[in-house]
Subunit: 714 residues, 2 copies
């Protein structure tokens, strides 16, 4: 879908409203009413055989009677009539249709059938559809309100830099109204309904290309096409526009309810969350979290380049509250340089605090430049990437002066400044008006100011940043090819591969496995032992025996050559006894991997996002604590390092409390390789479980001690 | 301090303002101005030799010239003059004084000296002091504004059920203003300043006794007297009034900043947090968290009796968002009874959802009683302890009707109903006014509505509930006495007790220790082994050798009698070699405790709260994961069980994944006993570390394998 064409969807030169009515209290009457109310400048064609005229406009009995071209048709008729209307649209070569009507896939079997019929007709005619079961779209800069929510009552619109896509019409448009009343300007709003054709990602993609949109926000209940979203997220980072998402369905109950409510597949929220984190999509958990973020991005707020926070407060308590929140959000309350502290000390009374959080005290009211000087000194400190300024109860002229200072400083600053003024809008109306006109991000809660800035700071620093200097990423662009041997192995193997087969494949992708030989006789076993060196592990190799311990067909830590022959026989006999019909390839002779930290690396296939890489520490960490890091494959080396550091058990790898440091770098490279292998193997790989992978001491690499691979569709 | 007397502090019959001024822009002019503005009904005596009259009132040159009795004196003069003013107050038998002036302990050495002098003078005269360095107090029901914050500008006050105590004047009064503008009514507000005499707990205690106060909120930077707060918290639960606290200084930076800002000791936030949880004090992390809580308690909101949440939404998305938040807050999204679901299904369209979260769909606008019927059905379900109702964009008459329904239902209901109406106050002004007049808790964010209700639900269910049926609690009331033997042992011991001494004391308090004997010769060692039975552990017993492994003076798992003599000699020799001057009592012969789960139990002494009980699992859990539960001693059996369940490693004790279930009941009893012992021993016990305590399989009890006790002041 070419992006430019959606311009005519949001800002069409002409609109037909099929099923228009004179009653502006109904869904049929509202779209025309709102289009007129907000001064839509194009041609409007109400269509309804019942009327000759609506709201001063000629009303047409059908589409073919309309004199001019139609860029957009809005359909507000009973769902059963919609296919016929699409045929009329096709005849008139209408490029875009928004279907407000409900009764489709969300309503039951009949609705599903009609929706499929509509989709077929539209696709044949090359018509792009928004909806059905949606509330329509608004282009605020161009005064095009092709929608019916009561949220469009207030006029004029407040246009601005936020593009908004919502999978819930009712909730979405109510968020729009709350945000507009909070002073948040929008470029576009669109409710996507059942997403029969155009989906949330299509609209977001268009907004990323739009010059007037600086930030895209989406309310999502499910992601339909993971690949499309991955490309979207990468584009958002390329063009430098933050993508923020409120995705519901985090909880089990919520996810179930979302699945029943929407026609979209909701997928695993854990995977979705991993994807957001990996691709630098800002996730918010509340309507107000979104409004806060948009507030933080107001005016010309530059994106912060790091996570060092400066705090200036006129009341000690406000500064402490900010510092608490900052640490909880993973920000650093910057230790200021001595020059900065000196400069601040010269501008505040002796009972203030020149250290961060800076307390300028209420005396700030009485000095002309002290307050501004302090803020300037903070902004000049290289460790400060953004500032939160807390003001409590300052009213009248001192309040207005502070507000004017803050407007001036914000306009000059190359770092973001958030103001948290803890007072009601009644008592401090004038200073608030000054800040609002000056487009300064204004909060009433210091906590929310810090949280919003933290999201921007993490956005600036956290996400996967593709760079040619990162070999992991570079390699990830070109997945390694599959060799003929591996092709053959995959073709001939059962659905569940043996340990040996799984390891052969891992090895083919450059992943270090324990040294091993297959022995088909006592003699071969002895020879293998000599080659590998004692001690060894001995395990049955059979596609029919996956639980070797259960079959008592495994011997670990074999230290003497004299035991090898005897163990060989025992293992084979036990295996036969366990499963007489088992195909037995022989006994696998493996090196005993020296001591290291045991970790688990896995791949699972997500229906939306494809292969998902999983990492965790062995033992209680994954089993009891569910201490797992996840990412969509492939991952870069940088991202792999983040996964490793993100698990709670990381100190065990890092050498905490006198432990030996593990080879974290080799582990990271292994994660990258496993993720690349998953991409290369594609959908045929259903599941991989490397358990354990032994991470040896620094410089000594890693070794796959056991692995299990399951193929799909066998 | 008798509570009734503080009534005259908040609502005095007469007030003298020492240092009053005609300039209402100054701190000197404001108190009189605000008292008059809000219609204070008692006698007002401005005191200032410079004026004959202020604001139509006679101004007196000093206190002795005032004709009537003075209940409260406000002091607004330079800090150096304050002692003289206190002397004047003493001469006039003024019972209460609020000192607004700053320059005292918060400002430096001279201020500290003068503050001490003022404290002495006041104590001698029996004067109770609020402040210094505070912003004063307000009694909203009685229109007494004895304070100077600009937050008192709006008139009239909105009186109501919330009592508010703040350790920060500036931040506190700005929160007061925000809350009043949000429709939160207060009974009292007081800023406590340096708490030279009356502290936050004193004022909170008074408010708990006050009939017009239903909930007490405090902004705290530090707790001065832990015992007083413990009694306060217990009283709050007794009288059934929620106590909510915003305590700053959670983070390291924040805690440091708070300590430098306030004259109060801040103490450990972790301990404070444990105390809040244990005693059912609601902790909020944001100004708005407090406003939300007060909103939730509006009108006649009954306290919920459980944590089962019902959700009714007119938009699927809103319900899902609530369900997500509920699970994150630890609430249960109740599975409704079949009768309830049937009743709901009869009142909503077929494409709605009759399961919780219930989606009544936007059709709710068009039916007369459906919406109310659904809410009534939900309220009647025994699994629903409280309800959140989400409304999106409903305006005009349908909106007004819903609002009226909600007012009626809230007034009748015996369960709390929160309304989350996701719309701006501009567009939905009328329904909001109906809800506000009807005192219905109204939120604009479903997330915040659920979070606020969750705090009330946890308040109702979570805290330690003393009950005679709980032997732990009953016993905790009467700490076990110390025997003469133990008295002697404590008196004669070094500061750091030996393992044997520590265990003797634990054993005296009924805590199971490993069986052990002290052997002073090879022969005694052999005899002990026979008595205890092999295998045993052998350890040096010396007050001078605490790190036995370092001295190589320990032998574990001794399995043969023939080794005992030899090991005895080795241990003694190695100990002598390690520390030639060491006092050696002999060798401790201990049973080898059978396998179990190793846990750590400890006591640390907190400067505010006294002995703090610590519990965690051994190994990586405490060391790497800092996975620790804490409580103020003593704990009840119920609270001990909560500690055990609260650590992340709990599944290891509960028998996760085929593990043996550990004797959790015996562990809980041991925690209770250790906590009681700590209370009995009192301040002389500085630290106790039981590491490890072995928790044996269910029914087999626990065993202290090693312990270290450190006494204070030796």
């Amino acid at each position: 879908m070419a992006q430019t064409s959606l311009k005519r969807f949001f800002n069409p030169r002409s609109i037909a409203i099929i099923g228009a009515s004179t009653d502006i209290r109904t869904i049929n009457g509202k779209p025309l009413h709102y289009l007129q109310r907000h001064g839509y400048a194009g041609d409007l064609y109400p269509v309804n055989p019942k009327y000759a005229e609506i709201a001063g406009l000629t009303c047409y009995p059908d589409l073919k009677s309309i004199p001019g071209d139609i860029d957009l048709a809005l359909i507000v008729v009973n769902y059963k009539l919609v296919p016929a209307m699409i045929e009329q649209c096709a005849a008139r070569k209408v490029p875009f249709v928004t279907i407000f009507s409900s009764g489709f896939a969300e309503a039951g079997e009949e609705g599903k059938r009609i929706q499929a019929q509509v989709a077929r007709l539209a696709a044949e005619a090359g018509i792009r559809i928004c909806g059905p079961n949606c509330q329509g779209a608004v282009d605020l800069f161009d005064n095009t309100a092709a929608a019916f929510s009561a949220s469009l009552d207030p006029a004029p619109f407040l246009p601005g830099p936020v593009g908004f896509v919502t999978q819930s019409g009712a909730l979405g448009y109510s968020i729009f109204n709350m945000a507009q009343e909070s002073g948040i300007g929008f470029s576009y709003v669109v409710s996507t309904g059942n997403e029969m054709d155009l989906d949330a990602a299509d609209f977001m993609d268009f907004m990323l290309d739009d010059d007037r949109t600086r930030m895209v926000f989406a309310y999502l209940e499910g992601i339909r096409d993971g690949d499309k979203f991955i490309r979207l997220a990468e584009k958002a980072r390329r063009v430098g526009k933050p993508l923020a998402v409120l995705k519901v369905g985090r909880s089990e109950t919520g996810s179930r309810a979302a699945a029943s409510h929407t026609a979209a597949l909701t997928g695993s929220d854990e995977v979705c969350d991993a994807f957001f984190r990996q691709k630098g999509i800002i996730r918010v958990d509340d309507i107000e979290g979104f409004i806060d973020l948009a507030t933080a991005m107001k005016g010309r707020t530059p994106l912060p380049r790091g996570s060092g926070l400066g705090i200036v407060s006129i009341s000690g308590g406000g500064g402490v509250l900010c510092a608490d929140t900052a640490e909880a959000c993973g920000l650093t309350v910057t230790a200021l340089k001595p020059e900065t502290t000196e400069m601040i000390a010269a501008n505040i009374p002796s009972f203030g605090s020149p250290a961060n959080p800076v307390d300028v005290t209420a005396q700030a009211i009485n000095t002309a430049d002290g307050f501004a000087n302090v803020i300037q000194a903070m902004l000049a400190d290289p460790g400060v990437d953004g500032l939160v300024v807390v003001i409590t109860m300052i009213v009248g002229e001192p309040g207005r002066r502070m507000a004017r200072d803050l407007v001036r400083l914000s306009q000059e600053a190359e770092k973001p400044i958030m103001v948290a003024w803890t007072a009601g809008p009644g008592l401090v109306a004038e200073p608030f008006a000054v800040l609002s006109e000056g487009n300064v991000p204004l909060f009433h809660s210091p906590v929310r100011a810090v949280q919003a800035l933290a999201k921007l700071m993490h956005y600036g620093t956290d996400a996967e940043r593709p760079s040619s200097a990162d070999p992991g990423v570079a390699a990830a662009q070109v997945p390694p090819p599959i060799s003929d041997d591996i092709e053959k192995l995959l073709a001939s193997a059962d659905r569940t591969l043996t340990e040996r087969q799984s390891k052969q494949i891992l090895s083919a992708f450059g992943i270090s496995i324990s040294r091993e030989r297959l022995a088909r006789s006592r003699e071969e076993a002895l020879a293998a032992c000599e080659e590998i060196g004692l001690p060894v592990a001995m395990k049955i190799d059979s596609p029919d025996i996956l639980h070797k311990t259960e079959a008592d067909a495994i011997r670990l830590n074999v230290t003497a050559s004299r035991q090898v022959g005897e163990f060989f026989d025992e293992i084979v006999e036990n295996a036969r006894a366990h499963k007489p019909e088992a195909r037995i390839n022989g006994v696998l002779i493996q090196e005993m991997v020296p001591a290291g930290v045991e970790v688990i690396v896995g791949i699972n296939r997500d229906p939306q996002f494809g292969p998902v890489l999983m990492f965790g520490l062995g033992g209680i960490f994954v089993e009891i604590l569910k201490d797992v890091a996840m990412r969509i494959a492939p991952v870069s080396l940088q991202e792999a390092m983040k996964m490793i550091r993100e698990v709670r058990g990381y100190p065990l790898l890092a050498g905490a409390r006198g432990r030996v440091k593990a080879d974290v770098a080799a582990l990271a490279r292994t994660l990258v390789k496993v993720s690349q292998m998953a991409v290369t193997l594609g959908p045929q790989l259903d599941q991989l479980d490397i358990n354990p992978l032994i991470v040896l001491p620094e410089g000594q690499g890693v070794r796959v001690a056991d692995a299990l691979m399951i193929l799909a569709g066998k």
